[in-house]
């Protein structure tokens, strides 16, 4: 899908740069070669590809290796983008939104969308221009934006927020409040933390979220039939 998407995004620039039908056809075919990277960081490669195509079409840089640039960047940017956007920014936005929701406020989805898209849209636009200006120089990207450091800090913040959410378990909104009338709030919070860490251990031991969901349902049914609920 990214191969087609990339070629489609290049189409307006290619049409403008290559009015000759045969050359345009050949350039479209080149951009229809396999392409896969992190979809947001593809903006950087897109900007760079337009710059190189411009140089090639004007004759300033007839040997511009657009194919080589794309191949060199897509794997590296894929890894960088996956770990930042999917592995750090998204869980952070989710943790913040979950905290808002469990506090009893309905606008949690807006919090998620705003936190995520400020970064996402901002970086997508900025990277398009940076890619164009640098002609695909990955060093300029790494120098301008430290994805690794920011990803690490966002992960830390997410963990802290999740810990905070667990600490507030007795005060979660009504639908999620546990029916343990005899235990005090501290005991409920510590019990929730212990149960969560137990599930982390099970996940590390090879369990999957789907298996654990099923197991949790079985436990709940057994508890209900024992009269504990």
């Amino acid at each position: 899908m990214q191969t087609l998407g990339f070629a489609y995004a290049m189409l307006p620039a290619l049409r403008r740069l290559y009015p000759n039908g045969d050359e345009l056809t050949s350039r479209i075919n080149l951009h229809l070669e396999y392409f896969n990277t992190q979809p947001y960081l593809a903006s950087f490669i897109l900007g760079a590809a337009v710059r190189l195509e411009e140089g090639r079409a004007s004759g300033r840089n007839r040997d511009a290796d657009v194919r080589g640039m794309k191949a060199a960047l897509m794997a590296a940017l894929g890894a960088l983008g996956d770990s930042f956007f999917w592995g750090a920014l998204k869980p952070f936005a989710v943790a913040a939104a979950v905290a808002v929701f469990l506090a009893g406020l309905w606008w949690a989805p807006l919090v998620f969308l705003v936190i995520y898209n400020i970064w996402h849209v901002g970086l997508r636009v900025w990277l398009l221009f940076l890619g164009y200006e640098s002609g695909g120089d990955a060093v300029s990207l790494v120098a301008a934006f430290n994805f690794t450091k920011l990803a690490r800090n966002l992960k830390i913040m997410s963990l802290s927020l999740l810990g905070g959410i667990l600490g507030m378990l007795p005060l979660w909104r009504a639908e999620f409040r546990l029916p343990v009338p005899v235990a005090g709030p501290f005991a409920i919070a510590v019990g929730g933390l212990a149960a969560t860490l137990g599930m982390v251990l099970l996940l590390r031991a090879g369990g999957t979220p789907a298996k654990l969901m099923f197991g949790l349902a079985v436990v709940c049914v057994v508890l209900a039939f024992l009269g504990a609920v």
């Binding site: 087609l4 947001y40 869980p91 808002v100 830390i156 409040r177 609920v229």
Partner: protein, 259 residues
Amino acid sequence: MAIFDTKTLTDIILVALAGGIIGLDRTAAGQFMFSQPIVAGPLTGWMLGDATTGLIIGIVLELIWVMDIPVGTFVPADSTILAVWATAVAVLGSAGREPLPVIGFSLLLTVALIPATMRADGFIRKWNSRLAAAAEPTPGEHAGRRLSRAHLSGIAVFFLKSFVLYLVLLPLGLIAAHLFSGLPMRFQGSMSLFVKLLPLLGIASVVRRLSIRTADGFLLIGFVTAATIGLALRAGFLLVMLVAATATWVGVKYREGRS
């Protein structure tokens, strides 16, 4: 009462259409995260007249599946379909009854849907990968026409995949919800407890992928801060979160300054 009256059938078609459009945001177009359960769930619920049910389902599924990342060729569970489907089943299947047990039951049923959504997604991606060859212009042809057509048909195929899945799976879900209402009250009560415990599993799924340690230090700092300020001093929920996040940020900066 009939399960499939005219209104329910209309709602099923509406959900399939809306779900198909929301699903495009997942990989085919935009990726502005409208397709994430935390947004798709409440949107579906709002459309059917119960945004809160959608929000509860969306939050739970978001936590559980947020770290199921599409890295490389791995095709993750389609959490958009799970959220839209579970919300529609819970809202249409609860029919004026206490919603929490039906919410729990529909969330449990999503476990059975995961392999189907993954297989459908894998199949569509394979199908779409062939479109690049179909997009290559031939000499003499208007350049770009085939490419535009192939690109748009790729997006349409993604829409159709979700649309058809909803049309097939939603009636099955509603039949299951109808059968569920006839089960003993204890079983229904167990599903309410299930909903209350699922966020803990969601948090565990995220912690497991964010940290290599089970009892991560930052998780514990957040916990202790919240328990101290929130439970002992009775500070407001969001204030506690803000203090926990600020304390962690200061700690991170201090550590950076020392290293």
